[in-house]
């Protein structure tokens, strides 16, 4: 992990001035590779799609049309069929990593029991959700986490024995917190939401999920 960080930083240092130019160049070179992605829409089709979303969608509940305005990371992932060149990916990952805010008290381990409850909950952020209620972690929707919960999704990797396999060191705690806070800091076009970055999960919730993954008593590590 350390090595990757150093490599990433040197790339960023070398290319920070020309970042935008690089991104554009990266996109152009990706388009020529689009045969490798038969489902990858052409830039013209992507532009039409953006226009159709703006024209044919309306705000409902908490889901405003501002949600259709993409950020730089989403743009790059959309234009590259989720496969940006390694240098572009490194820049994006560095930027996302930079945006992570860590708890002021320095503590990253919360209550695994609260974390398990949160992992079970798939609610939040849709137009039919009550914004007064806490957002769920959605973890079991995509990941296996414990032997006891057999209703789990498979879009993400299995996290069974996550802590048992990795230990509970400060570095692992920080990585785990960061990954849930902003998955894109480690994989620019990851399928996983940026739960902390977008404010879906708060600091306490993130800590509770870290505990669910790392606490030796948690069902994840049984």
């Amino acid at each position: 992990m350390m090595k990757t960080n150093i490599a990433r930083l040197s790339i960023v240092a070398a290319s920070i001035a020309g970042a935008t130019a690089l991104i554009l160049a990266g996109c152009a070179s990706q388009n020529s590779q689009s045969q490798a992605f038969p489902n990858h829409a052409s830039p013209a089709a992507m532009k039409n799609a953006t226009m159709a979303f703006k024209r044919d969608f309306q705000a409902k509940g908490i889901a405003g049309v501002d949600r259709l305005t993409t950020d730089k990371l989403q743009d790059v992932c959309n234009r590259s069929a989720n496969n940006p060149s390694p240098d572009i990916a490194a820049i994006l990952e560095h930027e996302e990593l930079d945006r992570i805010k860590y708890p002021a008290d320095g503590k990253l381990l919360g209550d695994w029991k609260a974390g398990e409850k949160l992992a079970q909950s798939g609610t939040g952020m849709t137009w039919s959700d009550n914004p007064e209620k806490p957002v769920g972690g959605n973890c079991y929707n995509c990941h296996q986490l414990s032997k006891t919960e057999i209703s789990f999704g498979t879009i993400g990797p299995s996290l069974l024995n996550y802590g048992k396999l990795r230990g509970n060191s400060p570095e692992i705690q920080k990585y785990t917190y960061s990954k849930i806070y902003n998955s894109k800091a480690y994989n620019a076009c990851s399928a996983m939401p940026r739960f902390g970055h977008v404010g879906a999960l708060n600091e306490k919730q993130l800590k509770d999920l870290v505990a669910l993954l790392l606490d030796p008593e948690s069902p994840v590590n049984q």
Partner: protein, 269 residues
């Protein structure tokens, strides 16, 4: 009502009977038992029957029926029309799915206003919407036929390409696109299998799965509703009913599903 009581009874048995449920999701086990009990029957038949009456009854400011409605195969031809939509309609100048087209006939033939047909597209268990009845009637008339959606008109090509691009567009608080759930084969959310809509095999299975009678909501849902609910779960704002965007996504799915056998309205959990 009779159906709803039957469903609840069967589901109650499934939930309390370990032999039935076994390692399976009790809801799925319950629905399988329920399907077995119904045989070829589907509560969607009630919608179909109501839809046929609505189709043939004079209504609207012009007080005419929908029997002269051209669903793409000529005025009045209902049989086989559904499996050849979405398609380009020259009189409307755009690609339309079956629901958009039926509503187009309600406005142009019967004289209903645009606001009338947009007022309440998605019904509830106790209060179905008329368009759900009409759609169920029209789609059932294509039972046993193959999906054969036209793909050659430039507007049909355009709709497919727009649908495909929209399908892969990531945005919103969770960075989701349609492809986040439906772009890879063999994936699940919880225990729910997810069709990979970029492949012919899965698109065929999924496309003929709607409209469907859903046991958990006790009503028929149309493809317009299905797309709407996908975007809800995608954490996006709401797609406008019958918009080009929604019809383009349905076109992308339908053209990918071409060749599938249509078995009539489905029955789902």
């Amino acid at each position: 009502m009779k159906y709803r009581i039957a469903v609840m009874a069967v589901l109650a048995v499934a939930w309390t009977s370990p032999a039935l449920a076994q390692a399976k999701d009790p809801t799925i086990a319950g629905i399988e038992k329920y399907r077995e009990m119904l045989g070829d029957d589907n509560p969607a038949e009630l919608y179909e029957a109501r839809g046929e009456i609505l189709w043939k009854k004079a209504a609207g400011p012009k007080n005419v029926s929908l029997e002269k409605c051209d669903l793409g195969l000529g005025p009045g031809i209902v049989k086989g029309a559904y499996v050849q939509t979405p398609r380009y309609f020259a009189d409307a100048g755009r690609v339309m799915d079956i629901e958009t087209r039926i509503n187009w006939c309600r406005t142009t033939l019967q004289g209903f206003s645009e606001a009338d047909v947009r007022k309440r597209p998605f019904g509830s268990a106790d209060k179905p919407s008329e368009i759900e009845d009409l759609v169920t009637y029209v789609v059932t008339a294509s039972k046993g036929m193959k999906v054969n959606v036209p793909t050659s008109h430039p507007k049909e090509v355009e709709a497919y390409e727009l649908g495909e691009a929209m399908f892969h567009f990531r945005a919103g608080p969770y960075d989701f696109s349609c492809a986040s759930c439906h772009g890879e084969s063999g994936k699940r959310i919880r225990l729910q299998d997810l069709p990979n809509l970029t492949t012919t095999a899965d698109a065929r299975r999924a496309y003929v799965g709607w409209p469907a009678y859903r046991v958990s909501t006790s009503r028929v849902h149309t493809m317009q509703w299905r797309i709407n609910d996908c975007f809800r779960q995608q954490r996006f704002p709401e797609p406008k009913y019958m918009s080009e965007a929604v019809d383009a996504l349905i076109t992308y799915m339908a053209q990918t599903a071409n060749g599938a056998e249509y078995k009539g309205p489905a029955l789902k959990r």
